[in-house]
């Protein structure tokens, strides 16, 4: 195995290939290194763009190398603090990065679930315009060469009460997620416009629950609407069976957890 360090992300991006993996905080890549299953080249970069956090009018641009702890300490990212706090223990939050979370397979990857609900866009190193996170997640693992994420552009909800996140775990105070759920439900004149509901650990990547979104679109969060959305929570999702829960169990409980989250949003 070889470790290569590059001053700029552009150089690092050029060095990527089917035999290479990019390492930021190391919480995912070093597991593979320790298990002897990592790629033969590990690419790193100390490019300062990776740790920048910039406010951009209607949102924040977060460098992909920003750690969960750094995100928690940043006032511009207060709307994401409940999400960052749900990741790992303190040690993991001091190491794990926002960019890395997008490559995390369940039961990890809770932060990406929230980013997907907020309609985040991803800036890839050495490529022009930002891409929807949805596309990056869909392409994850499909191409032989993994892209390097430079930054994530995250819209800020106009009303902070329009965004909510929940992580369902069996262990207190900290455990990996059986599933995680994020909801962004902006309102116009009391009606939901542009509903986004996302689930983690309910498919190979964080996924949108499009059937539940359609139910909520144009409605308020009344009991009947919430019940219908909960009923369709799993439509189009493909939950896995793993050591934490069976696919059957996840399907059984997903609607209930979505219902609780929506009720909590309505209570405010």
């Amino acid at each position: 195995m070889r470790v290569e360090s590059y001053a700029t992300l552009a150089e690092a991006a050029r060095a990527m290939g089917p035999d290479a993996v990019f390492m930021a905080g190391g919480t995912l890549v070093m597991r593979d290194v320790n298990a002897g299953t990592s790629a033969s080249r590990i690419v790193r970069s100390a490019d300062p763009v990776l740790t920048e956090i910039r406010s951009t009018g209607d949102g924040v641009s977060i460098g992909a190398g920003v750690t969960m702890a750094q995100a928690l300490a940043n006032r511009d990212l207060a709307y994401l603090s409940s999400v960052a706090r749900s990741v790992g223990g303190p040690q993991v939050r001091n190491m794990a990065t926002i960019g890395g979370n997008i490559f995390a397979h369940h039961p990890y990857g809770d932060f990406a679930v929230a980013l997907l609900a907020l309609g985040a866009r991803v800036v890839l190193a050495g490529q022009g315009a930002a891409k929807p996170l949805e596309d990056v997640l869909r392409e994850r693992g499909r191409s032989s060469t993994s892209p390097i994420i430079a930054a994530i552009e995250v819209p800020r909800p106009r009303d902070p009460r329009a965004f909510a996140f929940a992580k369902v775990s069996r262990i207190k105070p900290k455990g990996v997620s059986v599933m995680s759920i994020a909801a962004h439900l902006p309102r116009e004149g009391g009606r939901i416009r542009g509903a986004r509901i996302t689930f983690g650990a309910m498919g190979p990547t964080p996924l949108r629950a499009t059937a539940a979104e359609r139910v909520l679109e144009g409605q308020g969060l009344d009991a009947a609407t919430i019940a219908r959305a909960a009923q369709l929570a799993c439509d189009g999702l493909d939950p896995p069976t793993d050591a934490l829960a069976s696919a059957w169990y996840r399907r059984e409980v997903a609607g209930t957890h979505l219902k609780r989250l929506l009720e909590k949003m309505e209570r405010g």
């Binding site: 470790v3 919480t27 990592s38 223990g89 040690q91 001091n94």
Partner: protein, 157 residues
Amino acid sequence: MAKKPVTFILNGSERATFAEEGLNLLEFLRRGIGDLSPKYGCGQGTCGACTVIIDGETHLSCLTMAVTIEGRKVETASGLANGKVHPLQEAFMEHFAAQCGYCTPGMLMSAKVLLDRNPAPTRADVIEAISGNLCRCTGYEPIIDAILATANMRRLA
């Protein structure tokens, strides 16, 4: 694996040595330096037995590449006692906070960063601070008591 030079501060003293590329900090400290206080538990970042302090923050040494500590300050549990045992170590003994003792060095590191930052933690703060450290013996209560007792003692001192 190629070896690279690494210069860093371990428990206050400068070290200049070589580390294999790709070697994790835990193995580097234990085999390369001979500091056996950080423990190998899972190698996956789940258990916290390998917790060390890097530049004032807790990190998992098993998931840290050794060559990345160039120029940084690393603290381990073996640096806590300075002539006599550290107040946290004293309180851990007093409250029977160690049974097998395997999680203790990692617990001490998490507790030290907590008390360095927050001299008057609540019980909930302590639980949060050690939430990345697993203990399979004590049920955690004696550990939480020991950390709170250390904070109280310091305030009285």
